[in-house]
C-alpha cells in the first residue's frame, strides 16, 4: 500500500469534496495500490487527505473531475476528501533533511506521527517525595515540589513526630508569607527591575561562554527585552545535540557545517578578468578548512546559479566562471551574485562554533545569528534543549507560553549576570504582562501603555494630544479605575489601603 502526495489547487479539492464519492483524473502515474493521498496547495503544507478506493489508468469519460485539461494519466476513485490540520512537508521526508522544494507528485511512506504519552509531573517524582506531599496534604498543606524535595532529607533525619512538627511550622510560615490582597504588585515589580538598572553596566558586549562570541548584556539587553525588539542586537543560539551524538566530533562538525551560512566570498577570492570576460574563483585553503567546505560543495553551489558556464581546474583548484551572455553589465551582475551565493548553511546563522564542555566532555554549539525554525529541523539536534535568545522568534515558532518563559529566563539571566538579586516573581509578572494577550507586547507606548483603558493615563504617558483628540471623536469614557487617572483628578488611588473602606458601625445602645 502506498501513499502519494501531490500539489493541487484548493478550488479542485473543494469541488471534489462537495461531490463526495467521485472519480478524479490526475496527471501522473499513480501506483495501483495507492490508498491514501495528501494534497498541498502551497507546496509547503498538506491540508487535504483523499481516501482512495481504487486506481485505474485514464480513459476519457464524462463522469470525471479533471485536474488538468491535458496529460491526464490516472483516475482515482475517491471515497472521501477530508480537510486536515496542516502537515508540513518535512513530515513526509524522514530520510533527507530540509527539502524546501516539492515537485508535483511523489510517492511517500505514510507519515508516522509519534504519539508521546503525556507525562504528568507527579509521576516523575520519586515515591519519597510523593509521600511527603501526601503527608502534607493530609495536614491541608499545599507544598510545592521544590519544598518537598528539600524536606526529603529531613524525613529521614527527624523522628516522625518531629517531622510532623516541622510540617506544621512550614504551614504557619507559608500562611504568614502570603501576599496581601490589593498589594500593588505591578509597581513593586517595576521598581524592583528599574532600580537596579542604575547599577548595571552599559558595556554592551560580553563573552558568553565562548571567547569568540559576543552577546549584548547589561542594561541594553534588559531594555531590549522589555521593548520586545523584533530582532535582538546580537541574536544567538545554543544548540545541543541528541544524546547519542553529543560526544561525536564528526557529527558535531557536520552539524556546524550544516548550520553555518557560508557564501563563496567567505572562502574564496573572486577575481574579475575584464579582457577575457571571466570570473575566477580562487579558493583559500585555510578558510575552506575553517568553514568545512570542499571544492565539490563550491561547484554544487555554482550549479544552482543560472546563465553561467563553469570551468573547473582540477590542478589549481581554481574555478572559472563565464557568463553565457557576453556583456560587461552581465559580468558585473554575475560577480555580485557570486559574492553572496550561499554554499551551504541556514540563512541567518552567520557563524557556528562548537565547544566541548570540559566537565561532561559533550559538545555544545554556539551560533551567531538565529533561525530557530530551520535549526530545529536538523535531525541530529536535540530540539528540547536547543535555545535562542530571540524572544519574538520563540513566540513565532514555539508559541506564546514559550515566549513568556524565554522573557523570564532572558531577563533573569541578564540581571544575575550583573550580580543583581531580583526576585523571580517580579520577572514572572513582567513576562506574564507582556504575553497574556496572546502576542508579545512591548512595555511602552506601542505596547502595554498604549492600550490602557484610561484616556488620561495614556495622555499622561506619551503623545498627549493624540489621545485627547481621539477621545473627543469617540466620546470615550474614562472609568477612572487606574492609578494615574485618579491622581490626575485628585482622588485616592484604588490600590492598597485605597482599595478598601472602613465602616464604623456605632453600637445602637
Amino acid at each position: 500500500m502506498s501513499t502519494i502526495i501531490f500539489k493541487d489547487t484548493k478550488k479542485n479539492l473543494e469541488a471534489l469534496k462537495k461531490k463526495g464519492t467521485y472519480r478524479y483524473a490526475v496527471d501522473s502515474d499513480v501506483p495501483i495500490d495507492t490508498k491514501l493521498a495528501y494534497v498541498t496547495a502551497d507546496k509547503k503544507q498538506f491540508i487535504y487527505r483523499i481516501i482512495i478506493s481504487s486506481v485505474e489508468p485514464y480513459t476519457e469519460s464524462t463522469e470525471l473531475l479533471e485536474k488538468k485539461k491535458t496529460d491526464l494519466k490516472s483516475v482515482l476513485a475517491v471515497e472521501r476528501v477530508d480537510s486536515i490540520d496542516p502537515i508540513p512537508l518535512s513530515e513526509f521526508r524522514k530520510s533527507k533533511k530540509r527539502l524546501k522544494e516539492f515537485s508535483d507528485f511523489e510517492t511517500v511512506e505514510l507519515p508516522t506521527i509519534k504519539m508521546v504519552e503525556k507525562a504528568t509531573y507527579v509521576d516523575t517524582l520519586s515515591p519519597g517525595i510523593t509521600e511527603i506531599m501526601a503527608i502534607a496534604s493530609a495536614k491541608k498543606l499545599e507544598l510545592s515540589v521544590s519544598v518537598a524535595e528539600k524536606l526529603a532529607h529531613y524525613k529521614e533525619k527527624l523522628s516522625p513526630e518531629n517531622f510532623s512538627k516541622l510540617l506544621d511550622r512550614i504551614g504557619v510560615d507559608l500562611d504568614t508569607k502570603k501576599i496581601d490582597p490589593h498589594e500593588a504588585v505591578g509597581i513593586i515589580a517595576a521598581q524592583s527591575i528599574g532600580e537596579p538598572g542604575t547599577q548595571m553596566t552599559m558595556r554592551t558586549f560580553h563573552f558568553a561562554g565562548v571567547r569568540e562570541m559576543n552577546v549584548t548584556l547589561g542594561l541594553p539587553r534588559l531594555i531590549e527585552i522589555v521593548d520586545a525588539r523584533r530582532i535582538p542586537s546580537t541574536p544567538s543560539m545554543t544548540v545541543y545535540l541528541k544524546p547519542e551524538f553529543e560526544e561525536s566530533e564528526e557529527v558535531v562538525m557536520n552539524v556546524v557545517k550544516e548550520l553555518e551560512n557560508t557564501t563563496i566570498l567567505d572562502v574564496a577570492d573572486i577575481i574579475t578578468d575584464i579582457t577575457e570576460m571571466t570570473l575566477t574563483i580562487k579558493p583559500e585553503n585555510n578558510k575552506m578548512k575553517e568553514r568545512l567546505v570542499n571544492n565539490s560543495d563550491l561547484l554544487d553551489a555554482l550549479a544552482k546559479m543560472k546563465g553561467i558556464t563553469v570551468l573547473s581546474d582540477k590542478e589549481s583548484k581554481e574555478i572559472i566562471v563565464k557568463p553565457q551572455q557576453e556583456s560587461f553589465k552581465r559580468l558585473y551582475q554575475v560577480q555580485e551574485q557570486l559574492k553572496v551565493q550561499t554554499i551551504k548553511g541556514i540563512p541567518g546563522i552567520k557563524r557556528a562554533i562548537a565547544r566541548i564542555d570540559q566537565a561532561t566532555s559533550k559538545w555544545i554549539l554556539y551560533t551567531q545569528g538565529s533561525n530557530l525554525k530551520e535549526v530545529l529541523e536538523i535531525d541530529e539536534i536535540d530540539a528540547n534543549r536547543t535555545y535562542t535568545n530571540d524572544i519574538i522568534e520563540i513566540a513565532q515558532v514555539l508559541g506564546i507560553e514559550a515566549a513568556r518563559n524565554s522573557i523570564f529566563n532572558e531577563a533573569l539571566r541578564t540581571l544575575s549576570e550583573q550580580g543583581l538579586e531580583v526576585d523571580q516573581r517580579h520577572l514572572m509578572l513582567v513576562a506574564d504582562m507582556m504575553t497574556f494577550g496572546g502576542s508579545v507586547r512591548a512595555v511602552g507606548r506601542q505596547g502595554i501603555s498604549g492600550r490602557k483603558s484610561s484616556v488620561l493615563a495614556r495622555a499622561a504617558f506619551e503623545i498627549t494630544t493624540k489621545h485627547l483628540l481621539r477621545a473627543g471623536l469617540l466620546g470615550e469614557v474614562d472609568p477612572l479605575t487606574g492609578v494615574a487617572e485618579n491622581i490626575i483628578v485628585g482622588q485616592p488611588i484604588t490600590l492598597g489601603t485605597g482599595a478598601v473602606n472602613l465602616v464604623y458601625r456605632l453600637n445602637k445602645k
Binding site: R169, K177, I179, G186, G197, M202, M433, V483, Q491
Partner: protein, 886 residues
C-alpha cells in the same frame, strides 16, 4: 478643611464641542482685540472682559460675582468671519473627504458592504472599547470607500482629494475651502459616521471645521504686571488678539467686496493663526513668535511633554509643609528617627482640630506662642497659625498668643509646630523604589541639617558629600496612621526586590563587628564597661579571669545585641568564595557562625551577618521577632560599633600599603616580563606566525592575547602585594570583612594599576596610528596602548596618568548615559504596571479585570516576606526545631 472626600468622580466622558455649545457656555462674545483701557480697566467685550473671570484683586467677576480665587473663570467666544479647519483633526477630515460622496455625502460603500462593517462595529462600544481596534476597523472601511470613484448611492463621479500639508485640501488642483469642507461634512448622515470611528452621539464631522472659537477664562491666561507697571499678556491672549484682528479684517474685506485674492490671503492668515493657537509646532508652518523672537507656547505645548500640564501639574504637584536641606550622619539616632533642625521645625506645622477633649490642651499650646522654649532653653513646639471655622487664618505672635488662646473654640484648627515624636516622610531623589520615601519620627536637633542613622543610607542611596533630602509633614490622621504602620523605616527593612534586608550595617559597622568577633579577642573590664555604656544593657557578659584581672570576650559582648532564643548557623563572608581564602584562616571556628539561644558560640561577624543586602542575622531577627526587634538590633549595633571603634581606633594611611623592597622588585620584574611577552607576541604577529583563534582575525587574536597577559600580571602583582598585607592591615580588614573596597583595589594601590581599557579593548585612539605623539606610529606595545605598570602609591608617570584618565572618562560617560536610559526604562515599566494589583483570591488583575496571573508569583508568596526568593527556608526551620528539641 478636614474631613474626607465627600464626592468621588466615577467616570469622565470626552466629546467634541459643537458651535452651539460653545455659544451656550460662553458668557461674552469677544469682539475687540484690545485688553485694557488707559486706566488699566478691562475693556468690555474685549479679551479681558470681566465676564470671563477676574485676576485683579478688588474687582468682581461680572458673571458670578466672585472675587479673585473665588471665581473659577468663565468661557467667552469669538465668531470667526470665515470657517477654518481644526489642525488636530486634519487626518480625520482627509479620510472623511476621501470616503464620502461629494454630492450626496454618503459613505462610498454599497449596502452589502455597509452591512458587514456594521456587524463589526455593533460589537464595539465607542465609549469603552479599545480605540486601537475601532481605529483598525474604521480604517478598513474607509480604505475601501476611498478607493471607489463613483458613488454607489447617487452615481456621482468622484475626484481625488490631495492634502497639501498642513491645512489645505485640493481637489483636481483646486483648493477646497474650509467653508466647502464644512458643507460636505454637514451632508454626511449620522448613520454613516460609525464607519469613520466617529461617535454620532458626541461628535459631528462639521465641528472639526471651526466657525466659533471658545475663548478660555482669564484665569487660564493671566496677564502679569511687571515692576515697571507695564502689562505683559499671556501667549494665549496674544494669539487670540491676532485671531480677532484678522477675523475682523476678513469680515470687513468680505463685506465691502474686496478682490477674491485679498480675501483668500486673509482667510489663509486666519487659518494660520487658529492653527498656531492650537499647536505652535505644526509641521510645515513656521511657529508664531513673540516680539522677542521666542516661539509662543500655545494650547498643545501647554499640555505636552515633561513640562506640560499632565506630567508636571496633574501627575505631580508642588506641596506645602515640606522642607529640604543638607543631610549628615548621626549614629546615636535610631534608624526610625530623623533629626530636624530647629529652624525647620518652627516653620513646619501639623493641623490640630479642636474638640471638647483637647480644648484645654490646645489653649495651653496656643498660649505658648510661636517660639516657646523650656527652662533649659530647649525647643518646645509652639503654634504658628490658628484657623477659624470660616477659613480665616490668624497669625500667632508672642504678643497675641494669650489673647488668641482664649478665643479658641471647638471646631477651630490650630497649626502646631513640629514636635518630637511626630511622624514625617523623608525622601531622597531619585525615588527609584518605595524605600526612597519612608516614615521617620522627629527628633529636634541643633544645627542646620537633617540627620539620620547610617544604616538608612543604603535604601536612600545617600551619602554625605552634600546630598540634600526632603521632609514632608503629614496633615491627616489617616496619612499618619499609614505612615506609622506601613512606611516607617523598621517596616521597610526587608526589600521587596530580593526578600532580604536592605537596611543593615555599612562600612564602620562591619569593620567594628568584625574586629570585635574575629579571633574572639579579650577586652579588659574598663574597656568593656566603656563600650557597654553606649548600650542599654543591665548585665555584664561572661567574665574570664586572666592573671587575676577581669576580661571579656568579643563574641560575648556581641551576643548582648542578640535577642534571646535566636538560633543560627551560617558561613561568614570571610570564607565565601575560594577555598584558598578559607584555608588561610588559622582558626576554623572563625568561619562558621554559630548562634544558640541568642549567644554567639563561634564565628566571625562580617558583611554576610549584618551588612545591608546580605545580613543574615538581621533577616532572621526580623522574621522571628518582628520589625521593632530588627530595628533595635541595628540601632544597638550602630552604637556598639561607634563605642568599639572610638575606644580601639581605626584608620588607614598610605604607609599601610608599604611592602618590602624585594616585593617591589618582584612586581617590577613581572611587569617587565609582561611587557617583553607582549613584544614577543607582537613580533610573532608581525612575522605573520600568530595563529588566529577560531572565528577571529589575527589582529583580534593578538589583542585578546595581550589583554590576557596584562590581566594576569595585574593579578599576580596583587597576589605578591597581598602576601605582605595580612589581616592586621586596616585596608585588608575592610576588604575581607566586606566593609569597603575589594582586594583588587588594594593591589592597585600597593602592586600595580594594570591595563587601562576603553570599550573592553586596549586604548588605541588619538593620533593617527598612535595614542600619543610620544610613541612611534607602528608601536602597539604595552606602554603605547595604556598599560600602567606603576602602583597608585608609587605614582603614575605622565603618560600612564594620561592613559588612566582616558579609562576613567569612559566610566563617567557610562554613568551619564546609563542614568538617562535606565530612568526612561523605569518610567515605562511603572507606567505599564502601575495598575496591577492582587485580588482577594491572590490573582493578579489589571483595571479592566483581565487576569494576568492566577496565583501571584506562582506560589502567592510576597517577595518581601520570602526567604531571599524561596517559599520557605526549610533548613532554618529544621535547625530551629532541632535546637529547641535539644
Amino acid at each position: 478643611m478636614t474631613g474626607g472626600i465627600s464626592k468621588r468622580i466615577y467616570r469622565i466622558q470626552f466629546a467634541l464641542l459643537s458651535p452651539e455649545e460653545v455659544r451656550k457656555m460662553s458668557q461674552v462674545k469677544v469682539i475687540t482685540a484690545d485688553t485694557y483701557d488707559d486706566d488699566g480697566y478691562p475693556i468690555e467685550r474685549g479679551l479681558m472682559d470681566l465676564h470671563m473671570g477676574v485676576i485683579e484683586p478688588g474687582l468682581k467677576c461680572a458673571t458670578c460675582g466672585g472675587k479673585v480665587d473665588e471665581c473659577p473663570g468663565h468661557f467667552g467666544h469669538i465668531e470667526l468671519a470665515m470657517p477654518v479647519v481644526h489642525v488636530g483633526f486634519i487626518k480625520e477630515l482627509k479620510t472623511l473627504l476621501d470616503s464620502t460622496c461629494k454630492s450626496c455625502g454618503r459613505i462610498k460603500l454599497t449596502e452589502d458592504e455597509m452591512k458587514t462593517y456594521k456587524g463589526r462595529f455593533s460589537q464595539l462600544s465607542f465609549a469603552t472599547s479599545d480605540p486601537e481596534i475601532i481605529g483598525l476597523n474604521s480604517k478598513k472601511a474607509t480604505d475601501e470607500a476611498s478607493q471607489r470613484m463613483v458613488c454607489p448611492h447617487c452615481g456621482t463621479q468622484q475626484n481625488k482629494i490631495i492634502l497639501d500639508k498642513p491645512t489645505t485640501f485640493r481637489e483636481e488642483g483646486i483648493k477646497v475651502t474650509p467653508k466647502e469642507i464644512r458643507e460636505r461634512m454637514e451632508r454626511i448622515p449620522d448613520s454613516d459616521l460609525m464607519f469613520f470611528g466617529l461617535n454620532a452621539e458626541v461628535a459631528r464631522p462639521e465641528w472639526m471645521v471651526l466657525t466659533v472659537l471658545a475663548v478660555p477664562p482669564i484665569n487660564v491666561r493671566p496677564s502679569i504686571t511687571l515692576e515697571t507697571g507695564e502689562r505683559s499678556e499671556d501667549d494665549l491672549t496674544h494669539k487670540l488678539v491676532d485671531i480677532i484682528r484678522i477675523s475682523q479684517r476678513l469680515r470687513e474685506s468680505r463685506d465691502n467686496g474686496s478682490p477674491q485674492l485679498i480675501i483668500e490671503d486673509l482667510w489663509d492668515l486666519l487659518q494660520f493663526h487658529v492653527t498656531t493657537y492650537f499647536d505652535n509646532q505644526t509641521a510645515g508652518i513656521p511657529p508664531a513668535r513673540h516680539r522677542s523672537g521666542r516661539a509662543l507656547k500655545t494650547l498643545v505645548q501647554r499640555l505636552k511633554g515633561k513640562e506640560g500640564r499632565f506630567r508636571s501639574n496633574l501627575s505631580g504637584k508642588r506641596v506645602n509643609f515640606s522642607a529640604r536641606t543638607v543631610i549628615s550622619p548621626e549614629p546615636f539616632l535610631s534608624v526610625n528617627e530623623v533629626g530636624v533642625p530647629e529652624k525647620a521645625a518652627r516653620e513646619l506645622t501639623v493641623p490640630v482640630t479642636v474638640n471638647i477633649f483637647n480644648l484645654e490642651h490646645v489653649r495651653e499650646l496656643v498660649k505658648l506662642g510661636p517660639e516657646p522654649r523650656n527652662e533649659f532653653g530647649k525647643y518646645v513646639a509652639g503654634v504658628n497659625y490658628i484657623i477659624r471655622p470660616d477659613g480665616r487664618r490668624i497669625k500667632i505672635t508672642t504678643q497675641n498668643a494669650e489673647e488668641n488662646s482664649k478665643r479658641i473654640e471647638v471646631g477651630w484648627v490650630v497649626e502646631r509646630q513640629l514636635a518630637e515624636g511626630d511622624i514625617v516622610l523623608f525622601n531622597r531623589q531619585p525615588s527609584l523604589h518605595r524605600m526612597s520615601m519612608m516614615g521617620h519620627t522627629v527628633r529636634i536637633l541643633d544645627g542646620q541639617t537633617f540627620r539620620f542613622n547610617l544604616a538608612v543610607c543604603t535604601p536612600y542611596n545617600a551619602d554625605f558629600d552634600g546630598d540634600e533630602m526632603n521632609l514632608h509633614i503629614l496633615q491627616k490622621e489617616e496619612a499618619r496612621a499609614e505612615a506609622r504602620i506601613i512606611m516607617k523605616v523598621q517596616e521597610q527593612i526587608m526589600s521587596p526586590r530580593f526578600g532580604g534586608p536592605i537596611i543593615g550595617g555599612i562600612h564602620d559597622h562591619i569593620t567594628a563587628m568584625f574586629l570585635l568577633t574575629h579571633g574572639n579577642p579579650l577586652y579588659p573590664e574598663d574597656v568593656t564597661v566603656h563600650m557597654l555604656s553606649y548600650l542599654d544593657v543591665d548585665h555584664m557578659p561572661e567574665v574570664e579571669l586572666v592573671g587575676g584581672k577581669k576580661f571579656y570576650r568579643g563574641r560575648n559582648i556581641f551576643s548582648l545585641l542578640l535577642p534571646e532564643g535566636l538560633n543560627l548557623r551560617f558561613t561568614s563572608k570571610l570564607c565565601s568564595g575560594s577555598k584558598e581564602k578559607c584555608a588561610y584562616e588559622d582558626d576554623p571556628l572563625d568561619k562558621e557562625v554559630y548562634i544558640v539561644n541568642g549567644k554567639m558560640i563561634h564565628g566571625t561577624i562580617d558583611e554576610a551577618a549584618i551588612g545591608s543586602f546580605s545580613g543574615i542575622i538581621i533577616d532572621k531577627i526580623f522574621r522571628k521577632y518582628g520589625s521593632a526587634a530588627a530595628a533595635k538590633f541595628i540601632d544597638r549595633m550602630t552604637r556598639l560599633g561607634v563605642a568599639f571603634l572610638s575606644s580601639r581606633g581605626f584608620s588607614t594611611g598610605i604607609s599601610d600599603y608599604d611592602i618590602p623592597d624585594n616585593a617591589i622588585t618582584r612586581i617590577e620584574e613581572i611587569s617587565t616580563q609582561a611587557i617583553e611577552r607582549t613584544n614577543k607576541l607582537i613580533e610573532t604577529y608581525r612575522a605573520g606566525q600568530l595563529q588566529p583563534a577560531p572565528g577571529r582575525s589575527v589582529e583580534d587574536t593578538l589583542e585578546i592575547e595581550i589583554l590576557s597577559t596584562t590581566g594576569v600580571v595585574r593579578d599576580e602583582s596583587g597576589k605578591i602585594a597581598s602576601t605582605y598585607l595580612g589581616l592586621t592591615n586596616p585596608s585588608v580588614i575592610m576588604a575581607r570583612s566586606g566593609a569597603r573596597a575589594k582586594m583588587l583595589n588594594i593591589s592597585e594601590v600597593a602592586g600595580m594599576v594594570g591595563q587601562q581599557s576603553v570599550r573592553g579593548g586596549r586604548l588605541n585612539r588619538g593620533y593617527y596610528g598612535r595614542t600619543l605623539p610620544h610613541f612611534k606610529t607602528e608601536d602597539i606595545g604595552a606602554m603605547a596602548r595604556g598599560f600602567v605598570k606603576s602602583s597608585y602609591k608609587a605614582g603614575l608617570n605622565p603618560i600612564e596618568y594620561f592613559m588612566h584618565s582616558i579609562g576613567g572618562r569612559e566610566g563617567l560617560v557610562d554613568i551619564a548615559v546609563r542614568t538617562s536610559r535606565s530612568g526612561y526604562m523605569q518610567r515605562r515599566l511603572i507606567n505599564a504596571f502601575e495598575d496591577l494589583k492582587v485580588d482577594e483570591e491572590l490573582r493578579v488583575r489589571d483595571t479592566i479585570g483581565a487576569v494576568i496571573q492566577f496565583k501571584y508569583g506562582e506560589d502567592g508568596v510576597d517577595p518581601t516576606r520570602s526567604d531571599k526568593g524561596d517559599t520557605v527556608d526549610v533548613d532554618y526551620l529544621a535547625f530551629n526545631l532541632e535546637q529547641e528539641v535539644e
